[in-house]
């Protein structure tokens, strides 16, 4: 008896899911355009939504017939990825209350901890904290003064 399951390649679930979400987005767009008052602002998103639905349907078909085994999230630490993104988002949320520099300090610290694989001691913590303060202050000064960006 031959093992048929070993012959068929595993489905590329991620691609199928993303393409399905794109189709969903296209359908939501078609629903949204029905609320617009002016036809001029309807025609382009409608056409693009149909194009997105059509292309995504073909992606699903192609991926079902010939799945790519290389696709996937790969290895690496998930907590570091999540910490990096979460600290950046947290910085954004805090910015209106805390101001620009304290808020971005949260994002900076999150990135610093997420990127450090060699472990921490007192000296390295001091050096990286000092470097961080210098880099942030230098870029803040560059944008705030010569470039005249009104940072909060």
């Amino acid at each position: 008896m031959t093992d048929t399951s070993s012959k068929s390649a595993p489905k590329d679930i991620g691609t199928l899911l993303i393409a399905s979400l794109f189709i969903g987005l296209g359908l939501v767009t078609l629903q949204d355009v029905s609320t617009y008052s002016d036809t001029d602002s309807v025609v382009f998103p409608t056409t693009v939504a149909y194009a997105l639905i059509g292309c995504s349907a073909m992606v699903i078909l192609a991926s079902w017939l010939r799945p790519n085994p290389d696709n996937g999230f790969g290895g690496g630490d998930w907590w570091r990825r999540i910490l990096l993104v979460a600290s950046m988002i947290a910085g954004c949320l805090v910015m209106p209350l805390a101001g620009f520099l304290p808020a971005t300090a949260i994002a900076f610290a999150g990135g610093l901890i997420a990127a450090r694989h060699e472990g921490w001691d007192l000296k390295s913590a001091f050096v990286f904290a000092l470097s961080g303060i210098f880099i942030m202050a230098a870029f803040y000064a560059l944008f705030r003064y010569p470039l005249g960006v009104p940072l909060p």
Partner: protein, 504 residues
């Protein structure tokens, strides 16, 4: 035009302005998030008290330097500093990853200088006759030009063509988010106040290119770029030898960049992609585009710097900005009291020709300054420990996005879009089609709606979209760009099978 204008451009003040402009532009352009448009915009106030020709020289030098500077972050961080450098990431970053980042930076500098000189030469010699070609482009042609740009990037970027097209459509849809320019309808915000301002292109570009790199960098302890041991010498000569060997690619890409720069709105991003596509199409056996091929970097960088001179042609002759930085420069000229238009070359010819010679000088100055800055940029980025590089780049993405229109919403959108972009990239949906969809969305929508209105009013909708000769030519190129890689792939597979059969 005579030597008097050359002499005017060679005054100590103008030379100093050209040098300052190139250095400032290169540094600003190399910072992810600061585009050439922003580099020019933030330094415009300096020029208000200057002579018009000197002001133009400074702004032209900043512009050309910033376009070149965008290549640094494209090569070393996989984050194009400007949209013009999107295609530079295709081969520049793979080169940097394998330890050839310094070579890629040197090649980018030679190509940028060559492309810039060709563009400036075109501005000097071909401005009036070529500008009449651009006049023949109507809204439909701009629509098809946008579709052509998307089809090119879909067939060129990593992943497959269908995923590229889906990504392009997703980008076009993202460009619709916010208040519609035509009718003020609020589109695709789903009640969120964060989305009302729309998706800012440069912020989205930073997110889609930079955040995925940061997410990948923190996940593993390996170094970001490969570092060669033993303090290798700077590879200026090696870069020059490669550039000389591919001189036909340089010339062709520069001409493509110049011609596309003349078309208002098309800009360096389309020029870079078309030149890259041509370089890939005419690849020599053994060349592997997308895997760190120096000719890919050369084609893109020559073309995008050639758009500087090309873009000035409609800006100065017709008063229609060829590229977004040209629009800022046009505004600066109006503040100076200089009216652009066909008579400018006669009535105010002195200003124009002095500026053109100034642009030549600035471009030539880019060679030593670019190589020098490039050398230190490479060495700095390659030796910075990941622990400090990740938060520093993350901080720059936040401050760079915020600086564009002082919006926290833009920063939030940038981070979310970047995270979504990382997930998409892991399943073969490349960032470039999404970004180009966002950039070309407004141009495509304007062309589409105008053509729709005219076609609907005249009762000839199909004729409006498919009946004009220039449109048909662009449609033919679009189909070719989508079909050709498929045919080429089949031919290659058939060849491999035949060779395998012969070996058996």
């Amino acid at each position: 035009m005579d030597f008097e204008h050359l002499a005017n451009a060679l005054t100590l003040t103008n030379l100093a302005l050209a040098l300052f402009g190139v250095v400032a532009g290169t540094i600003i352009g190399s910072i992810p998030g600061l585009s050439a448009t922003m580099a020019v915009a933030v330094l415009v106030p300096i020029t208000f008290s200057m002579e018009p020709a000197s002001a133009l020289i400074l702004l032209g030098a900043i512009y050309t330097g910033a376009i070149y500077g965008g290549a640094y972050s494209a090569i070393l961080l996989n984050t194009p500093g400007t949209p013009s450098a999107i295609a530079t990431t295709f081969d520049g970053y793979p080169m940097a990853k394998r330890g050839d980042g310094d070579l890629a930076v040197a090649i980018a500098c030679y190509a940028s200088v060559f492309g810039g000189l060709v563009g400036a030469l075109a501005l000097l010699l071909l401005a009036p006759p070529l500008s009449s070609v651009a006049l023949a482009f109507g809204p439909v042609e701009y629509l098809w030009l946008s579709v052509f740009g998307l089809s090119l990037i879909a067939s060129l970027s990593t992943g497959n063509v269908l995923k590229g097209l889906a990504g392009g459509a997703f980008g076009l849809l993202l460009s619709c988010v916010g208040v519609a320019e035509i009718s003020a309808d609020i589109r695709l915000t789903f009640g969120s106040s964060t989305m009302i301002g729309g998706i800012e292109v440069v912020g989205a570009l930073i997110g889609l290119y930079c955040i995925p790199v940061l997410i990948d960098m923190v996940a593993t302890p390996e170094r970001h770029l490969k570092v060669e041991e033993g303090g290798r010498a700077v590879r200026f000569r090696e870069g020059a030898a490669i550039a000389w060997k591919s001189r036909f690619n340089l010339l062709r890409s520069s001409i493509i960049g110049t011609v596309i720069g003349i078309l208002p709105g098309a800009g360096g991003s389309v020029a870079g992609l078309v030149a890259y596509s041509e370089a890939k199409r005419t690849a020599r056996p053994g060349q592997k585009f997308g895997e760190g091929e120096p000719d890919g970097v050369m084609a893109t960088e020559a073309a995008n710097n050639a758009t500087v001179g090309g873009g000035f042609i409609p800006t100065l002759v017709l008063g229609i900005p060829g590229t977004p930085p040209d629009a800022v420069i046009l505004g600066a000229l109006l503040v100076q009291g200089v009216r652009t238009g066909p008579t400018l070359f006669e009535g105010g010819g002195s200003i124009v020709y002095t500026f053109v010679f100034g642009l030549f000088i600035a471009t030539i100055l880019m060679l030593p300054t670019g190589l020098l800055i490039g050398r230190y940029a490479y060495k700095t980025i390659v030796t910075i420990p990941k622990t400090i590089l990740v938060p520093a780049v993350g901080f720059m993405t936040i401050i760079g996005t915020f600086a564009i229109r002082n919006s926290i919403s833009d920063v939030m959108i940038m981070i979310v879009l970047g995270t979504v972009g990382w997930v998409l990239s892991r399943f073969g949906f490349a960032a470039s089609p999404i970004v180009l969809g966002l950039i070309l969305g407004p141009i495509a929508e304007q062309g589409f709606v105008q053509a729709w209105i005219i076609g609907d009013a005249t009762g000839n909708l199909a004729g409006m979209f498919f009946g004009r000769p220039i449109s048909l030519a662009i449609i033919a190129f679009t189909i070719l760009s989508l079909v050709y890689p498929v045919i080429q792939g089949r031919r290659a597979r058939r060849l491999i099978k035949t060779e395998a059969g012969a070996n058996d």
